[in-house]
Amino acid sequence: MKKWIAAGLCLLLLCGCGRKGKPLFDPVYFYYPRTEYDYGSADSAITWEAMDGTGHMDDFEFLLSEYFAGPIDEGLVNPFPVGTTLLSARLEGDDFLLEISPEALELPEHQFTLGCSCLSMTYFELTQAETVTVSCGEKSLTIRRNGMLLMDDYKPES
């Protein structure tokens, strides 16, 4: 009897551990900074959460409005102030030009860079663009696809 109870509990535990959310048919990866800044060295400052983009994979405006609504995961945070919206988005060659509303101007420089980097990484997932330029009022920041250092894995040769 005891063995059966133990086996049942193990089964329930396995079911609980193995529980998954609804499968996503067209996942879109939104990049956000982590809430806590005191990360372990193995974690980068930015990570992603998957959203269902079914039927909107080419609708950048819709996807961006979803992005600015902020993350669902409590471990992530919206890098932009509440009310920030996408004003325009266009592709010029390999450069994707984004204009966002001026609410983002109130961010300190490093947080603005962090926000723009998150937005750019989200775009790099969606498009083949090599650079993303984010404009906000008079501020403009260009992020290259490989122009961000998220993890320091440098090792000296000797």
């Binding site: 420089e109 920041l141 122009g147 320091d152 440098y154 000296p156």
Partner: protein, 478 residues
């Protein structure tokens, strides 16, 4: 059948598996403790190394930040010039960023022009000093960052990385040594647990085997368990138990043999007498004599059976009822009943009774005790002899003595006097119609009522039986 099944091999197997389980539990607990100690040692050693590195690395960051803070605006050339002069900054990697995370200088030359979004840099640009320590594959990696300020304005940040394979090797060596010690200790624990478990199982199986041997009827078997622990104690208790069992069995066998023998004698007499009547022509007077003898033997059998029944009743169901009685009136009553017997034996009876002597005792029991003792005193007396009965108080006890002037009892017979069917003088006892049960009954009644009995005798002078009962304190009871 149920007892047999409990001692079958499967029962033994169950026992062995349980003691093995205890041993393995012990091993598991020690393993858990040792693993915890391993992790604790590893974590503490790493923390100590991180702490020792933190001070120097943050200090280097501050030094660089102070020198760079002399610049109004950070640019790659100026930074290279200033850092080039600082020979004391021996770190693995040094990155300087502007407030927007753009790398202005990288000693590793791989991040120039990139956005440095490392957690340490972002936190330093918030205005904090940051330090992180990590241990990977035998290398201690420490990272620190601090903001660069000029005139109270944050103009960038310095980020440093230091690889320390020497201290990493130290941590690794410590981890390996602690692990090796743990492994050796655990092997010892495992061996100890297995040896102890096997030894315990062996000793326990000796007791189990002994139980089976006793169960098969060999009560003389003894279990040999060395040491002074609980199992040795169990073995000793077990041996004591088998001793008592053996004694009890011997008594039972003796009793059955004695009872059979005692019953067989009158039955043989009856058979012989009846055969004589049937086979021989005899006159009416002789026949009456034979029939009277048959009647006497039957009467003796009857008395013996009654006494055996009384003893069996006492053994199996001792009465818990008591009453407050005075002893003297009962003794007088017995004396009166036995007066014809005394006269027939030519024995004078003297009573010296102190009254009152209240005791908690069933009157019927006292009657039987006094009757048997006085009857014995008359039967085994000499013609013209004397039987003296005394009752007196001695401290908190009532003492009854019955002394005769008979032939006395041999000294070697005194310890067996209260055993069933024991007769000091067998020929004389049978001749007087004794069954060998009278004193056993007296002994059982006295013990059942919380009293004591002892016998003293001198050959040729007589015997004295002393019975003691605790006095009932009527005043205290009120």
């Amino acid at each position: 059948m149920a007892i047999t099944s409990e001692n079958n091999p499967s029962g033994s197997y169950r026992y062995r598996s349980s003691q093995f389980l205890y041993a393995m539990t012990y091993v598991a607990v020690t393993l858990a403790v040792l693993v915890f100690l391993n992790l604790y040692c590893s974590t503490i050693s790493k923390r100590l190394i991180y702490r020792s590195k933190e001070h120097s690395l943050v200090e280097k960051c501050h030094l660089a930040a102070d020198e760079l803070g002399t610049l109004e605006e950070l640019d790659a050339f100026a930074i290279s010039q200033i850092l080039g002069k600082m020979e004391s900054l021996t770190v693995t990697r040094l990155i300087v960023t502007d407030p927007g995370c753009a790398a202005l200088y990288d000693s590793a030359l791989t991040a120039a022009g990139q956005r440095i979004l490392l957690p340490e840099v972002l936190q330093a640009l918030e205005g904090d000093d940051v330090f992180n320590g990590d241990y990977q594959k035998g290398v201690v990696i420490c990272r620190a960052a601090t903001p660069i300020t000029h005139g109270g304005k944050r103009i960038g940040c310095v980020y440093m990385t230091e690889y320390d394979p020497v201290r990493g090797a130290l941590v690794r060596s410590l981890q390996i040594h602690v692990f090796q010690i743990t492994a050796v200790l655990e092997v010892f624990v495992l061996l100890f647990a297995l040896i102890y478990s096997a030894r315990f199982g062996l000793r326990m199986s000796r007791i189990m085997n002994s139980m089976r041997i006793i169960q098969s009827g060999d009560y003389s078997h003894k279990v040999v368990i060395g040491g002074s622990d609980e199992l040795a104690m169990l073995g000793r208790e077990f041996n004591d138990l088998t001793d008592r069992l053996q004694l009890s069995e011997q008594k039972r066998t003796q009793f059955v043999a004695d009872a059979s023998h005692e019953i067989k004698t009158p039955l043989a007499s009856i058979k012989l007498l009846s055969d004589s009547i049937l086979q021989n022509d005899m006159d009416a007077a002789t026949m009456r004599e034979f029939v009277a003898d048959i009647g006497a033997e039957a009467e003796r059998l009857n008395r013996m059976t009654e006494k055996l029944l009384a003893l069996t009743k006492l053994d199996s169901n001792p009465s818990s009822e008591v009453e407050i009685i005075h002893m003297a009136p009962t003794i007088r009553r017995v004396s009166k009943i036995l007066l014809p017997t005394a006269q027939a034996a030519g024995v004078t009876v003297e009573l010296h009774l102190e009254d009152p002597c209240p005791v908690l005792l069933l009157e019927d029991d006292l009657y039987q005790i006094v009757f048997n003792l006085m009857e014995n005193g008359m039967k085994y007396n000499v013609p013209g002899g004397k039987l003296e009965v005394r009752l007196f108080r001695e401290g908190d006890n009532a003492v009854l003595t019955v002394s005769d002037t008979g032939t006395g009892i041999p000294e070697e017979a005194l310890p067996h006097l209260f055993e069933r069917f024991y007769r000091a003088d067998k020929s004389r006892s049978r001749a007087t119609g004794g069954s060998g049960l009278g004193l056993s009954i007296v002994h059982a009644f006295v013990q059942n009522n919380g009293g004591t009995i002892r016998a003293q005798s001198t050959l040729g002078k007589g015997s004295c039986f002393t019975v003691t009962f605790p006095l009932f304190d009527t005043e205290a009871a009120l």
